[in-house]
C-alpha cells in the first residue's frame, strides 16, 4: 500500500484529531507506518478543525497531508475549505445533514448521515468521529476491521467501549446499506 | 584550648580574598563551629553559592562545594537536594544574590519548604563589583549607582522569607559571633527551608562612604542596633526606632517538600 493521505475535517470539538490519532494507532498495530500531525501554517487559521494522518506500507518521508486521498467533511465550512485540496479521483465523504451544498469535481463523493447516525442510532453525537472511522475504513478498506476495532477500543475512555464499538459498526453499516 | 578550624578548612586556601575588616570571615568561623557541633560527615555536606564576595566562601571549606552563577545558589542547591535528599545542603549568597537577581529562587524555595538551609550575607551593598546599591541598601545611603543617595525602598529579608513560607527564619549579625553560630546550628537542625539573615559589614564598599570610619565602628553599630527578639517584645516602638531584632523570628513545623513529594507520587524507592 502506497501512502494514503487522510484529512478529517469538522468543527472544533467533533473529535477529528482524536479520530486521526486512533486511525494512526490502529494502522501501526496493523503493521503499517503512520504519522499524525498538527497544523500550524496559515491554513490552520479559521473555524474548521481537522485531524490529519498519513498511512503507508512504505517509509513515510514527508510527514504532512497536502492533497488528500481521503477527505471527510463533517461541516459545510470544512467541506468548502478542504475540497480544493482533494486529489483527482480521491475519496470525499461528507455528512449529508451538515453539507447541503455538495462539492463538485473529479472525485468519488459519498454523502452519508454520519452525525445523525451517531446522535439517533447510537444516542451520542460525540461519537460521530468513531462512526466516521467506520465509514472511512469500509470505503477504503485500509485496515482489517478487527484491527481497527481493537485500536478504537484501546484508545477511547474506559466505560465507553460498547458505545464506541456500536458507533464503529454503525459507520460500516452506513456504507454497506448504501450499496 | 583554642578552637581548631583547620579540619574544616581546605589547606592552602587562606588568606581569603575578603577585604581587611570584611566580616565574612567572622561568619565563616561561626558556620564552621556550628557544623562541627552537629557532627556531620563532611562528605554529606554540600555548600552552594552564587556570585559575590560571600559566594567565595565555599572555596575555603572542605565539603562538596559549588560556586554557581549569579543569584542561582538556591536553584542549583534544589537540584542537588532533590537528586539526593540525604545530603545536607546549604545555599548561601549575598543580599544582591539572594534578593535581587536570585529573588525568584529565594521566594520559591521558601514556598516549597524544601529542606535546604539558606544564609543571606546582608552587607547592604554589591561589594565585589564596587559598591552599587542592592535591595537592602538603606534609603538615603550612598552607593556608586546611588551617588545622590539611595532612592528605592529596601527589602526586609526576614519578612520576605516568612511571607513566602519559610518554616524557620532567623536574624543575627557578624558581631554576635556566638549568637550567629547558634542561629546557624538551629537552622541546620530545622527540617524544612530555613533562612538566616546575617547582618555583615562591607567597610570598603559601604562603610567608608556611609559614615563608618572603621570596620570596628560597623561591628559596634551592629552591637548597638541589634535587640534580641524576646527583649524587643517588651519594648515600645520609640525604643525600637533605628534598631533591628535578632534571634529566631519565625519557626513552625510544616510538611517538608521532598517528604510530601515522595509520599504523594508514591515514589518507588
Amino acid at each position: 500500500m502506497a501512502r494514503v493521505d487522510i484529512r478529517l475535517g469538522g468543527s472544533g470539538g467533533q473529535g477529528t484529531i482524536t479520530a486521526a490519532a486512533i486511525l494512526g494507532y490502529a494502522a501501526v498495530y496493523a503493521g503499517k507506518n503512520a504519522v499524525q500531525t498538527k497544523s500550524y501554517g496559515p491554513e490552520a487559521r479559521g473555524g474548521a478543525a481537522r485531524g490529519e494522518v498519513v498511512i503507508s506500507d512504505e517509509e513515510i518521508n514527508y510527514v504532512k497531508v497536502i492533497k488528500s486521498d481521503v477527505l471527510v467533511a463533517l461541516t459545510q465550512e470544512a467541506c468548502d475549505k478542504f475540497i480544493e485540496d482533494a486529489k483527482e479521483g480521491s475519496v470525499v465523504i461528507v455528512d449529508s445533514m451538515m453539507v447541503k451544498d455538495l462539492p463538485k469535481g473529479n472525485f468519488k463523493l459519498y454523502a452519508l448521515p454520519i452525525i445523525k447516525t451517531a446522535a439517533e442510532d447510537i444516542g451520542k453525537s460525540m461519537v460521530a468521529n468513531i462512526v466516521t472511522l467506520g465509514v472511512v475504513n469500509e470505503i477504503t478498506k485500509l485496515l482489517d476491521y478487527d484491527k481497527l476495532e481493537k485500536g478504537v477500543l484501546s484508545k477511547v475512555p474506559k466505560g465507553t467501549e460498547e458505545l464506541n464499538k456500536k458507533a464503529l459498526k454503525a459507520g460500516v453499516d452506513l456504507v454497506k446499506n448504501m450499496k | 584550648m583554642a578552637y581548631d578550624y583547620a579540619k574544616y578548612l581546605r589547606p592552602g586556601k587562606l588568606p581569603h580574598i575578603w577585604c581587611a575588616g570584611c566580616t565574612y570571615g567572622i561568619v565563616l568561623k561561626s558556620m564552621i563551629r556550628a557544623i562541627d557541633s552537629l557532627n556531620y560527615d563532611k562528605n554529606d555536606v554540600v555548600v552552594t553559592s552564587g556570585i559575590g564576595c560571600c559566594s567565595r566562601l565555599p572555596g575555603y571549606v572542605d565539603f562538596n562545594t559549588l560556586h554557581t552563577t549569579h543569584g542561582r545558589s538556591i536553584a542549583f542547591a534544589t537540584g542537588v537536594k532533590v537528586a539526593n535528599p540525604k545530603l545536607k545542603v546549604i545555599a548561601l549568597g549575598g543580599d544582591g544574590d539572594m534578593t535581587a537577581i536570585g529573588g525568584n529562587h529565594f521566594i520559591h524555595a521558601c514556598r516549597r519548604n524544601i529542606d535546604i538551609t539558606v544564609f543571606v550575607f546582608n552587607n547592604n551593598i554589591y561589594g565585589m563589583t564596587g559598591a552599587q546599591y542592592s535591595p537592602t541598601t538603606p534609603k538615603g545611603a550612598w552607593a556608586t549607582t546611588a551617588p545622590y543617595g539611595m532612592t528605592e525602598n529596601n527589602f526586609d529579608i526576614t519578612s520576605l522569607a516568612i511571607g513566602a513560607g519559610a518554616s524557620f527564619v532567623a536574624r543575627t549579625t557578624a558581631y554576635h559571633a556566638t549568637h550567629c553560630e547558634k542561629m546557624i546550628k538551629e537552622a541546620l537542625e530545622h527540617k524544612g527551608l530555613s533562612v538566616v539573615e546575617i547582618i555583615n559589614a562591607c567597610p570598603t564598599g559601604f562603610g567608608r562612604k556611609n559614615k563608618f570610619k572603621t570596620p570596628t565602628s560597623m561591628l559596634l553599630w551592629m552591637k548597638d542596633s541589634a535587640v534580641n527578639v524576646e527583649k524587643a517584645k517588651n519594648m515600645s516602638p520609640e525604643e525600637l526606632a533605628g534598631k533591628f531584632t535578632i534571634g529566631v523570628l519565625h519557626k513552625e513545623e510544616k510538611p517538608e517538600y521532598l517528604e510530601t513529594y515522595d509520599a504523594t507520587v508514591g515514589l518507588k524507592k
Partner: protein
Amino acid sequence: MAKAERIEINKKWCKGCEICVELCPTNALEMVDFKVAVKDLEKCIACMQCELRCPDFAIVVYKKEKE
C-alpha cells in the same frame, strides 16, 4: 593576673583591620606595621573577643590551664 598563656598571631593572614585591637577591653593588643601584635600579654584576660571576631583566622588565644 594574665589569663592567657600565649597569643599566636599569623602575620601572613592578618590584614590589619584593627578589629581585634579596638575590641580588646584591656588594651593588650596594638598595631605594628599595619599588623596586629601583642602589646602586653599580662593585660590579657582571655575574653576571646579578638579571636572570636578576627575575620582572618589570624589570632589565636591560648588560655592558661586553671590552677
